[in-house]
């Protein structure tokens, strides 16, 4: 066999081999493309998780459980089952999230329950409207949020106060407080999201030699930079809840905490909360 014959033979074999490999590769294409799409969605959820943590969790909670009196829960059955019908949205839930995140909300749709942070109730996040995020980043956040759809449970909205509300007068005489009831209330109100779980607000629990909020209540009013009007630890806590911006602990941002508690808590609620907080030395 001379060189030309050999080359023709080997060349033919190689062309056949290439065809076989391409054929088998092609048989798997449908599956590969489906997997690539799944993987891409998985990665979008990963990126969405990081962005949600950085941009959304402060108001909507790290696990999307919302903060009563501030922002609605997203990891919530109502959000996935009923919300779009209530607002008359005709597109997909993902589009609804993208639209809301992109342009924000000038006014809350449920001002009694979730007034948001004032005006706008929710800022615009799209870089087209002066926000920090690109369109594709907002899509990943939507992918992350919709990934809760199967596991979301119904989050109870705390009942509106029965009886007169507590008001903003911090010298008001309060009934006897129950620390256990106060602790339960702090959980349902969502205080723990920022003050215990994530250090968005001043932490309540004692840690690394820093005393808890119960001790701070007594010392903060004596600090030279204190700008509030309280004279006792009880009044300090009262004031911080109903008028959080009068004095903000250094290192934390003003205007983050909801300012609606004066109109949503009763005297007894306030007394319970204060009693609970004073136990956290």
């Amino acid at each position: 066999m001379n060189r030309i014959n050999l080359q023709i033979l080997l060349g033919t074999i190689m062309v056949l081999a290439t065809s076989v490999v391409v054929l088998f590769y092609g048989l798997n294409e449908e599956k590969r493309m489906a997997e690539a799409e799944e993987a891409q969605r998985g990665r979008a959820i990963e990126q969405g998780a990081a962005l949600f943590e950085a941009q959304c969790s402060r108001c909507h909670g790290t696990q999307g459980t919302g903060i009563p009196g501030l922002c609605p829960p997203l990891n919530d059955r109502y959000f996935f089952d009923q919300r779009m019908k209530d607002v008359g949205w005709s597109g997909t839930l993902e589009d609804y999230i993208v639209a809301t995140v992109s342009s924000g909300r000038l006014a809350s749709t449920r001002p009694q329950l979730y007034p948001g942070q004032g005006t706008p109730a929710m800022p615009a996040f799209s870089d087209h409207f002066g926000g920090p995020l690109r369109e594709d980043q907002i899509r990943t956040i939507a992918a992350f949020i919709t990934n809760w759809s199967e596991t979301a449970i119904a989050i109870e909205v705390p009942p509106t106060p029965s009886g007169p509300v507590v008001g903003t007068d911090i010298t008001k005489e309060l009934p006897e407080g129950d620390p256990a009831a106060g602790e339960a209330l702090a959980t349902t109100l969502g205080c723990v999201a920022c003050h215990i779980a994530a250090p968005t607000g001043p932490v309540w629990l004692a840690k690394d030699g820093e005393p808890g909020v119960g001790s701070h209540a007594a010392t903060r009013i004596t600090q030279p930079d204190y700008t509030g009007k309280a004279t006792t630890p009880e009044q300090y806590l009262f004031e911080s809840i109903v008028n959080p911006n009068i004095f903000v602990v250094s290192g934390f941002a003003s205007g983050v905490m909801p300012q609606s508690y004066a109109n949503s808590l009763t005297d007894q609620d306030m007394a319970n909360l204060i009693a609970y907080l004073l136990t956290l030395k």
């Binding site: 290439t18 997997e35 998985g42």
Partner: protein
């Protein structure tokens, strides 16, 4: 009537008709001749019809009629130039198809790549082959040049061919580099930012070059469009032009050089005569070329299937976030290495310009008429030395070299890089068992008693992490009180949050820490 149905006659007529068709199609080769060609037999007619093709057919006209036997020895050329042009055609072909699916705008570019991977049958294969071909083209161009240098084939009448070759090396590198940006991912964006910022170092007009390339102070829509047009129009056209000149010199003017010993060595005259013997293009060289093309295609296809080469794709470009360990494409590492050695203008502009000038002027600088390795020891020594320096500079160009990073940051970056996949990303999802694992407190043994088969991959990962931390403690980079943890939390359905955190007491008594939070989804796929 019956008489005219002569079978013999009909066969002859049919044969003649077919023969005529064949001659028309092959520009002069009859059926008999084709048969002889396939069997490797000598020409059947006189004058040799195999030469006629070279005058009647354009595609054969631009090919040589023959090579000299000595120049076709495999170990003389290794077919490097042939494969370089083969890869160029592969790039043209795959590139044209890829263009159908690509949109050169920052909003759409990355999406169009994802679409190519998710929705286009054979889309990933095309992209992988295009990328592999590009890398191979750079490698083969460089090797081709090195071979030409070592065999001394750039001398005398081939000086100008060498010069066009140097131009082609530049075009090849810039073709590859301009294609780098197009996927618009973090890798692309920052590699090109690093690359173009080198141009900025040029005195007087550096800033203008940079502006011209990027279309704005930072790479954005304009820069992407410019790189795209460079990649698909200007540079390919330039490449085709210079390749034509380069190839014309080889095929029409002076042929491929003979091995030095056959030309100027002390060998018997019959060896010299045999070396000059002609090997015809048709059929010998043509068969070999078709054979090599099928070999090349097979290797490329095997590379992207069996050997699992995949073109990288990181997360979408983000001008606000510079990932750690940003680096230029590998064929520019040497330049990055040089930039680390000294002044930006001296190392980034003046020295590279000198290198290019030396390459261009090599045939005119090196006046030694001999081609044999042994008769030009200085040139060969300098050549080998430059290759070694190039390799060393490339190593120094790596981000791991000479850039100080906090030891804790280095460890965490190596375990889980900001972009691309590290040991953490390669763990199977089910082995990520919830919990908090602390180095030197938890042993990397039997870490997942709940799993039937344990979690060997996670244990290996944790052992690696522990070793890195302990190594740093032994070397004194981290104090002995250092705490390193891996925390795995269940974050969502099919989503885990993994925190890598290293806490150590700083010199001022305050505790310092470095942490990275990574979210991993079950379907993310492995890289």
């Amino acid at each position: 009537m019956l008489k005219s149905l002569n079978l013999q006659d009909m066969r002859q007529k049919a044969y003649q008709a077919l023969d005529q068709r064949a001659r028309a199609i092959t520009a002069g080769l009859g059926l008999n001749e084709l048969r002889a060609l396939m069997r490797g037999e000598p020409p059947t007619e006189k004058p040799n019809p195999r030469y006629k093709v070279h005058t009647t057919s354009f595609l054969f006209h631009i090919r040589p009629r023959y090579y000299e036997a000595g120049s076709t020895i495999l170990t003389h050329t290794f077919r490097l130039g042939f494969f370089t042009s083969f890869f160029f055609f592969v790039e043209l072909f795959t590139g044209l198809i890829l263009m159908i699916y690509y949109t050169p705008s920052p909003e759409k570019a990355y999406e169009s790549i994802l679409n190519l991977l998710n929705n286009v049958p054979f889309g990933q294969m095309l992209r992988d082959i295009h990328r592999l071909g590009a890398e191979a083209m750079v490698i083969f161009t460089t090797l081709h040049m090195l071979r030409t240098f070592l065999t001394g084939s750039y001398k005398k009448e081939r000086s100008f061919t060498w010069l066009t070759g140097v131009v082609l090396l530049g075009i090849t590198m810039f073709l590859s580099f301009s294609g780098y940006l197009l996927p618009w991912d973090q890798l692309a964006y920052w590699a090109v930012t690093v690359g173009t910022s080198m141009a900025e170092a040029a005195p007087l007009f550096g800033n203008e070059i940079n502006l011209l390339l990027r279309g704005a102070p930072d790479i954005a829509a304009n820069g992407l469009l410019r790189f795209y047009l460079l990649h698909v129009v200007l540079l390919p056209l330039a490449a085709i032009l210079v390749i034509s000149i380069h190839y014309y010199k080889v095929s029409r003017e002076h042929g491929i050089s003979l091995p030095a010993y056959m030309e100027e060595g002390n060998v018997p005259p019959e060896v010299k005569k045999a070396a000059r013997q002609r090997i015809d293009f048709i059929p010998d060289l043509l068969t070999t070329e078709v054979f090599l093309v099928s070999l090349g295609i097979l290797l490329l296809v095997l590379g992207v299937t069996v050997f699992n080469y995949h073109a990288p794709l990181e997360s979408v470009a983000n001008p606000q976030v510079t990932p750690l360990d940003t680096k230029a494409p590998w064929y520019f590492w040497w330049l990055q290495g040089m930039l680390k050695l000294g002044d930006k203008i001296l190392m980034g502009v003046i020295l590279p310009t000198i290198v290019v000038l030396v390459l261009v002027g090599l045939p005119y600088i090196d006046r030694n008429p001999h081609r044999s390795l042994y008769k030009r020891p200085i040139a060969v020594a300098l050549g080998v030395l430059s290759v070694l320096i190039l390799v060393m500079l490339s190593y120094m160009g790596l981000p791991q070299y000479g850039i100080e990073m906090e030891p804790a940051q280095r460890i965490i970056q190596d375990m889980s890089p900001q972009e691309g996949a590290g040991p953490l990303q390669r763990l199977p999802f089910e082995e990520l068992q919830l919990g908090s694992y602390q180095v030197n407190v938890n042993e990397p043994i039997n870490m997942c008693p709940n799993l039937d088969f344990g979690c060997p991959a996670f244990e290996a990962f944790f052992r690696l992490y522990s070793d890195r931390v302990n190594q740093a403690i032994r070397k004194g980079d981290l104090p002995a009180e250092t705490q390193a943890v891996v925390v795995i939390e269940d974050w969502q359905k099919d989503l885990r949050k993994i925190t890598l955190r290293i806490v150590w007491p700083g010199e001022d008594g305050k505790s310092k820490s470095y942490e990275r939070i990574v979210y991993l989804h079950a379907n993310r796929g492995m890289e």
